[in-house]
């Protein structure tokens, strides 16, 4: 069983492995966590996820860019591949923050931003249903109904494909008015979100989860009222 000091060391090394996009180190220290009896959930949240949060900050500060984030994600997932089965085997259920359906709207294939947002949701403990890119509009509605997700997040980089967003918003409201809808992508801004009748705006991967949490809190308040 790891001592408190050793546990701290392992968590720090997991954090560093993600920030340094070192897959080998992430695997090494995930194994160490398991071998030495560190709680796998703690190792995930306070090691790997904590590292990814710092990566998000580095991206916001323009110290890390897309290549670095992709590699950090690879390190994160390399560690998760070992720790997740252990979490499941322990029977411990992580507190899921929420459930989100995410995708790039029909006609558009630019998915880097969407993939970064998806990853930030996952590290924050959300259940993510990724529909991919060039997603036919009705699939957003069908996926929300099937998964009962609180949030539908759509992305578009092209001005032509962004025109599909209000169509989805309308269809979603007609089907289930309680769902919160978040929009993101290069041509999107808060004015567009308001014009399209959506609820939230993801300026970037760093702020998407925060925005989603705010939307969830509003939803819960409405349910209680």
């Amino acid at each position: 069983m790891a001592t408190e000091e050793r546990t701290k060391e392992i968590l720090e090394q997991l954090h560093k492995a993600v920030v340094a996009f070192d897959e080998d180190a992430a695997v090494k220290w995930s194994k160490a966590a398991l071998d030495e009896g560190v709680d796998p959930f703690t190792a995930t949240m306070e090691g790997l996820t904590s590292g990814m949060i710092e990566v998000g900050d580095l991206y916001t500060r323009k110290e890390y860019f897309v290549p670095e984030i992709l590699m950090c994600a690879d390190a994160l997932y390399a560690g998760l591949d070992l720790l997740k089965p252990a979490i499941e085997a322990s029977g411990r259920k992580s507190k899921v923050a929420g459930s989100v359906v995410i995708g790039v709207v029909e006609g558009d294939i630019h998915d880097i931003g969407k993939n970064l947002v998806k990853m930030m949701f996952e590290v924050a403990g959300w259940t993510v249903h990724d529909l991919g890119k060039d997603v036919p509009l009705d699939e957003f509605i069908e996926a929300q109904v099937k998964t009962d997700s609180e949030i539908v997040a759509m992305s578009a980089m092209m001005t032509t494909s962004m025109l599909a967003m209000p169509v989805v918003v309308q269809k979603m409201r007609a089907k289930n008015p309680n769902v919160r809808i978040m929009l993101g992508g290069a041509p999107i801004n808060p004015d567009v979100v308001e014009k399209y009748g959506a609820d939230g705006y993801a300026k970037g991967a760093g702020t998407a989860v925060e925005e989603a949490i705010k939307m969830l809190e509003m939803l819960k308040k409405e349910e209680l009222a």
């Binding site: 897309v66 290549p67 670095e68 690879d74 006609g107 001005t159 032509t160 290069a186």
Partner: protein
């Protein structure tokens, strides 16, 4: 054909004056309109990407110029040049929400596939973009156009079309030799394309429209640009200048605040033309003014936010145009009012007209 009442120059004459550092009657306007040109003429967006006679993109552009007083040299092509040429697949725009040609399958997905290419394919015959743009260019030559403009995606963008932006950008860190190999292939393919144009039209009349979307700071950082983009763009530009090409238009799409100082070291002609996108943040609050300072000898081009033509009010668009004109008018080598990137195909025509109106109100010299 002159369009505005005070016009003393045709569109072609205005470009000749600009690129020869002679006075112009009024500010030129370049709408960066491809899909919009098609829709404006009652056609599908597909028509400007898939007419292999070159007739459609030429016709709809000249009509657009006539209608709005614009100064766009007819142009077509694909942002993902390199995909088909190296054996991948692309998808043409179709359906209500598609805007342009997209990648359906990348040709290079492993190191082995990258190394299997010892040299690029023949630009004259590989894929179908070059035969198409060549037909358009020949029509332009027959029209007597003073400059033959053709699309020339930058080496990094071509490399992304070959291996994918995510894979290529990771390789710059994990396998830099593979990344450099693909960039070498991309640069040499571009040189081959330019040589084809030189052999067909002569160098003097050529005016490449070089696009750089994936070099945006929203994707890669300045270190990656410095090591993997700048050397190849510089090499390509120096080579083009040595072959007698006099002017290059570089369309820097997205956020380039950290890269523009490096761009300023790349020869683009006498003058060159550098396009500025609208992307801004607290570190880069005035892109147009900043770029005007960095490029004191080149023509500046930009930078109205494209989405505003679709979602903004006419008053908002007019004001954005007016602000650009006010800054650009002071730039001695010249200024072309333009959107920061492609005009939305479904932009409101009245919003598009605001460019003309703003130049008519404020853009006379």
């Amino acid at each position: 054909m002159p369009m505005l009442k005070q016009d003393k120059m045709t569109s072609d004459e205005r470009w000749v004056a600009l690129l020869n550092r002679k006075p112009v009657d009024r500010m030129a306007i370049h709408p960066m309109a491809l899909g919009f040109s098609a829709i404006n003429s009652g056609r599908e967006i597909l028509s400007v990407y898939a007419d292999f006679t070159g007739k459609e993109p030429q016709e709809v552009t000249l009509w657009l110029n006539e209608q709005y007083g614009f100064n766009q040299l007819p142009l077509t092509g694909y942002g993902n040049y390199g995909t088909v040429e190296f054996g991948g697949e692309i998808k043409m725009p179709s359906g209500e929400w598609s805007q342009s040609v997209t990648v359906a399958r990348l040709p290079v997905t492993t190191e082995e596939e990258a190394w299997s290419w010892k040299s690029p394919p023949d630009a004259r015959t590989a894929g179908f973009m070059v035969p198409m743009i060549m037909e358009l260019s020949k029509r332009e030559a027959e029209r007597g156009a003073p400059f033959i403009q053709f699309i020339l995606n930058g080496p990094w963008d071509v490399a992304c079309s070959i291996a994918g932006i995510e894979r290529l950008s990771k390789w710059t860190v994990q396998k830099p030799d593979v990344a450099h190999h693909i960039l070498r292939l991309a640069t040499d393919l571009n040189k081959d394309l330019v040589q084809y144009y030189i052999d067909t039209f002569g160098a003097e009349r050529l005016f490449p429209f070089s696009t750089h979307a994936h070099t945006s700071g929203q994707i890669i950082g300045p270190k990656t640009f410095e090591q993997f983009c700048f050397p190849y763009i510089k090499e390509e530009h120096e080579w083009m200048m040595s072959k007698g090409i006099k002017h290059i238009l570089n369309h820097c799409c997205g956020y380039h605040a950290l890269n523009y100082p490096m761009w300023a070291q790349i020869p683009m002609g006498d003058p060159g033309v550098i396009s500025v996108a609208h992307d801004t943040d607290e570190d880069w609050p005035t892109p147009l003014e900043s770029v005007c300072k960095l490029f004191p000898n080149d023509i500046i081009f930009g930078n109205v936010e494209p989405a505003m033509f679709q979602i903004g009010t006419p008053e908002q668009v007019y004001e954005l145009c007016r602000q650009c004109i006010e800054i650009g008018k002071k730039h001695k080598p010249g200024f072309v009012l333009a959107p920061g990137c492609e005009l939305p195909p479904k932009a409101s025509p009245y919003n598009v007209w605001q460019m003309t109106k703003a130049v008519d109100d404020h853009g006379w010299y």
